[in-house]
Subunit: 455 residues, 4 copies
């Protein structure tokens, strides 16, 4: 099985050049000028942008939250991803029932995902029970290619400081990356309760009851705990505030190591005005945690990208129906499920807004593809256009079009970025040398995605 | 009742000048040159240093810790204070039994202290039960002159983040100063448990199991929680690390208000070498929390004094017998009671070391007397040499002598500063115009100290 | 000769208290409550504010600039000062003719000032010829009580870096304070020339051709040169920009010593809008160097006061007639003489605006009186309300009135602060125990001011 | 003319991968796995490291200094470069005679270099006469491919601040990069004169008379001047001190743009101990400006590499004979010519020390090859391993050997890095698809290097 791509304007995350690319057995075999090689399939990229396939390391597909379940399953979610130029996801799986092993959660997700995924995938385990058994599993999971775990400082499955430190100590030994959702639980609980008492129940109070300090505090706490564990790899998910980013910057300046910072398109593109500008009902669409923030935070995050302080842009894709689910919060924002769709919009929105702000496409690809691959043990198999790497590509035209619910592929009945004018339009997505999307059509079926053992 | 002091070299915390001082009815009535006024009592200060009476806002007299009780009661403790040039203490009283009101704890301490104190005094309440009732008491206590409260982020009576935020919100309304003992509870618990398992039980492990990050984390957390409560007065007790001080500095730079920083002589004069240099048994004498730190921390704290980042030097005086109590920890540092004597040594050690480092006496008095008075609502009644202020003075000779157990007045069987060469020696202590110490002799009896209602 | 002041609300720059003050032979003899002492003169302060007499360490009286001469001579200038609550000036005298000794310049100014001054005074020498002779004079002048010198990095008498370093080296030995006017000469020259070519000749171009970077650069350069001379006392005059203040802050953080920062009321109260808001002609009134800056600079300077980074507020008083002198610049701002009146407005404007911003009167007096006295070797003779200090006081009522040209005492035909609503009104000024201003009337005649030998 | 390289371990400054590379007509044509292509020449890289050819943007070949002339001409200098893995130099040519045009200097160097260079080359012009004519030449030279210029803040041809600002303004328009040698002229002149008077004439006084502050001051000054010219491209050459690097960092933090920082191997590998450790005569070998610095500076520069603050590592290669030239300074360091050889040692020393410190080879190549190419308008023709780029490569074995005078190719009679144990040994150098060095032998002759027009 071979593929020859002609006339590509290659952007590999580092350099850009015109080239033809020849792939064999799912790998990149030759990059050259005017290659004349026989191939089973041949594409003319026609001077369009060819980039490594996108890697989204923060998704919640088919996530069971008890009362709610995120509405994209592994088929629909990965289809939307593919249409968004993403050919690899690493999903934050659900908490298992308390008392179960990490392995059993992973096994469950292998079952859920395996037959459905149309793109390659892996999982971050989620740890909520810290005990001798689960701590020992870190090494075991690492050996099986699950080299990252997630924990929460809030919500039902949250860990306390002692438990977190135990996890970090174990991760230091096994080399596991620990992803953390950082929010101060106690103060948010109190502020929500107070909002309730005062009848402050419209969506804007979702933002007001999770002030910036609640994120910054938790980020700082995690960093100090990581210091106590001699700096295992610590990855802060969905950083949304200037204050949290500043804690990360200051930490790096004082010598903290192995610290990674993720943000998401919603924090780079939207602000808390969304909770009010089209009325309270519409505001429910943007209930997510952390909430949308202010202009100054948005700008600080873009500055963090420029200064190299933000490492990754992932989505936290976790959609719920507006009509069926979100509107339950119409009298009380606290009842609406938290999460928004985004898996399909990540690359086109960030390339559009990023280049408008003067960032190079290659710099943006660092955040969208290269760093995610490196941090989570996928590189250079994924995330690289180089000889021997997986032949995962996306080809984008510089054509503008408007994002809207009609042209989305998620199950969701709305898009977070309705009306966004994209300057980039996906032409093709290629995985392991096979065209999976071509000119708006899916060319693979459920189950063709492969599980990725990570280092 | 009147007193005339002749020929004083006055240091009032701001200025120095030669003067005579005339006091009437316990107040400063005249300051002048060559005053010729009839007075009931007359002193010739003989060009010695006359300063406002010392104010120690962090003591633990007669503190019931369950298994142990701090061994200086309100008589012996205030006598030692007076011999150390301190004429006012504000004591961190014990936790009451769970469920009791704050008022009942205060009442208990009025009973304990009232008949014994030889110097003026007040209390910080300690809050361990956060509920509607105790939160309402903040205003009530404030009205009665108890304008500060303490809480802990560790130990049995610790509060969690939600409770702390509630206290801070209430304090914002009542104007109460919240003093906080900042250490990360969970990580210290784990490190101590691990030390136990590994047989790391000598006193140096007391320091190693409370690393600098555990203090800095808690300080930062408190600052963010105070931000959530719109900046009530937050007072960090016994700051011991460069890292915690840096968090305070950074917070002030980003605009955090009403934040105060205390340190203690032990952190300015001693380092963790004390845990080992004379053997493990001797090391037990220095078990206290936070523990002694490293040279770099000591130097950072002095720099903090120079830069105005440290506001107060208090003692955390909390003595236990070495032979009877501390030595219980000879096989396991965790069994030894935590706390050291220091109420008597504060002023002479800090003046000696401080002037050696080039600090002016007046700057040091800011930290020892003026700021404590201002922050805790005692100024200008206490802490000021000005017309109308309480006539509380201490007169020091610039004579050197060596601090040793033999010349101490605490009940304790050792001094934390054994062998320290002091360059200052107390000649007299005067309270409300009355000489209470004269040339090494106590001239008042138990119960002459007065309770101070603070603003 | 004695004076008794009754019922004063004393603000001494450190503390405030109610007291009576008794003075004898020009010195403070007693401070007390209800003093009953016979005195030659007796005042009832009537609970008004009594503060130490103001000290203005940056004035240009009778300054010969060649084409122009500042229009307040030592009589009219010191009268205006006294009406502004200032009882001591230290004047930056003119450059002598090139080649003359520093001593001869000082002698000249003794002649000019001696018979005219109505308040006490001293001089900063100005050094423009750096040679073996003048360098040796630093020690000699110091011995005679001239303990500070000024140099310029721009204008005709400017020194180059090598000369500056020589002066700083000599000052390190003699202990002389070196005051520096910091602006980058070459770039301002070029920008002015370019403005000329482009016909940019209205007053706003005075500001635009001296951008913030020109000040910050020179400040930084001086700090590095002072480092090369092992940190003699370096005093930056009229700091006007956030950027320059930041250089000072950063320098202090990296350990630079003996560095002092002055600003002036014009930079704390006015902005470059003055150059345009009432038309270009009116704008000429504000031609001074450095020029008025932007809102952000003004705010940064007030923040610098709060953070202790600004040490002194002086005036740079250097008036010229609007009609006769300033209007010469009506077709070309470069022709107008640079300088504004301000000696009379300093204390009342700063107290008014400062207290409105929440600063305490005592903190403001640190900048207006205490620090100038300390830095320039006048303290505690001047700048202190303490036993033995000179009996220099000003008494202010908290009465509001509007500053206007009609109620000024400078020779100048306009005031920089026309229309400013002051919240403080001078009642009396007292020098060495003698009332020199009383209820709007001058009670002394030319020549009663004394030359002050400084340490 | 074609070349096939088999089995290379490619390090392209971004990624590493195993590949074969096929070049045609001097360009990279194909990169692939197991390429089977007929080629005129074929190399087996044998799994050795293949990197883009080195680019040294700071050399002084055949530099006329009046009394002295740097001893490597364009033949011997470029031969040494090639043996050091450098296939492109951009040389800082000499000052022309005062009054000549920039063009005439460039022409002169075309003559000097053209017939001798064995590798590709370009020039930075040097501007010492600032006038309307030379300022206009910036655009003209830019159009001819001379897109960078150098100026000095010290030495005979130095510019003053006004002239520098004029150059920066012109450079802003033409897009020319301005390289600056930053040292404070006046203070160094004075310190050297004083050293002379005091008989401090051994080589260590070369370092002592150019203290760190002299560099930091000039760097800061240039940055402010660049701000006044609205940020033309400003490139600080041979940054040698922590203080200067800090000024660059701080500037970037406050938003300064288009600022680049170069350092050199001597500042990353050697310290001022070299001036004394083998005696004063030996110390003369290290006379260069700026001088060698202290350990803390060296470490700060490596930290700057880690943090992305240092952009380029170039050599400042400027050799003089030890016996004939340097020893002239044996009684007075000021007489010895300033400059050291280094063109041959750059890549091997930095790769060796850098990888020992944990830096990746690709990160080091950013500083050695990629950034120099990008900043100076050579990229991606030079500095890139991508389709269409010039086929300039160097192949290194990971073999250790010791650098010594015997194995050098410069004319010089000593090497700055005598005894350095290199972990990398050049196997081949290839330029435009042609092998120019093979296994220790030069395979090209004088004049084969080509002049590079830069963007």
């Amino acid at each position: 099985m071979s593929l020859l791509i002609k006339n590509a304007a290659v952007y590999d995350g580092f350099q850009s050049y015109k080239a033809d690319i020849y792939c064999e057995d799912g790998k990149i075999k030759e990059i050259g000028s005017k290659l004349e090689i026989e191939a089973d399939e041949k594409i003319d990229a026609d001077e369009n942008l060819l980039m490594p396939g996108g890697i989204d390391v923060h998704t919640h597909l088919d996530l069971d939250l008890g009362q709610y379940r995120s509405i994209d399953d592994w088929y629909q979610g990965t289809v939307a991803a593919a249409f968004g130029g993403t050919t690899t996801v690493v999903d934050h799986i659900a908490f298992g029932p308390r008392g179960c092993t990490l392995q059993s959660m992973i096994d469950t997700y292998h079952d859920i995902a395996g037959e459905k995924a149309v793109i390659d995938y892996s999982f971050h385990g989620v740890i909520q029970d810290v005990n001798e058994g689960t701590l020992k599993e870190l090494q075991k999971l690492k050996d099986e290619g699950i080299s990252s775990l997630k924990l929460y400082t809030t919500y039902g499955g949250m860990l306390d400081d002692e438990e977190i430190l135990k996890v970090l100590q174990a991760a230091k030994k096994s080399g596991t990356v620990i992803c953390v959702h950082c929010e101060n639980d106690g103060s948010i609980a109190l502020l929500r309760e107070e909002a309730g008492k005062e009848g402050h129940l419209t969506p804007i109070y979702h933002a007001k009851t999770r002030p910036n300090a609640t994120e910054a505090e938790a980020v700082n706490r995690l960093i100090y705990l990581s210091e106590l564990a001699d700096y295992p790899k610590l990855y802060i998910v969905h950083t949304s505030t200037q204050e949290a980013l500043n804690e990360i910057k200051e930490a790096r300046r004082r010598g903290v190591k192995n610290l990674y910072c993720e943000t998401c398109p919603q924090y780079l593109l939207l602000t808390e005005e969304k909770y009010t500008e089209k009325g309270d009902l519409e505001g429910l669409k943007y209930i997510m945690a952390p909430p949308l923030r202010q202009e100054k935070d948005k700008e600080a995050l873009w500055k963090g990208i420029a200064e190299g302080e933000v490492d990754v842009i992932a989505t936290d894709h976790c959609p719920f129906f507006f009509e069926r689910d979100k509107l339950n919060g119409k009298d009380d924002f606290r009842v609406a499920p938290g999460g928004v769709p985004g898996i399909e919009e990540r690359i086109e929105t960030i390339l559009t807004e990023g280049t408008k702000r003067g960032f190079s496409i290659n710099l943006l690809l660092q955040k969208l593809v290269v760093n995610p691959a490196k941090i989570f043990g996928l590189y250079p198999k994924k995330g690289s256009i180089s000889i021997g790497a997986d032949a995962d590509f996306v080809i984008y035209e510089k054509n503008s079009y408007t994002i809207s619910q009609e042209n989305r592929h998620s199950t969701c009945d709305y898009t977070t970025y309705e009306g966004f004018k994209s300057g980039f339009k996906l032409d093709k997505a290629i995985q392991r040398g096979k065209i999976i999307i071509d000119n708006g059509e899916l060319r693979v079926s459920a189950g063709t995605g492969k599980f990725l053992e990570r280092q």
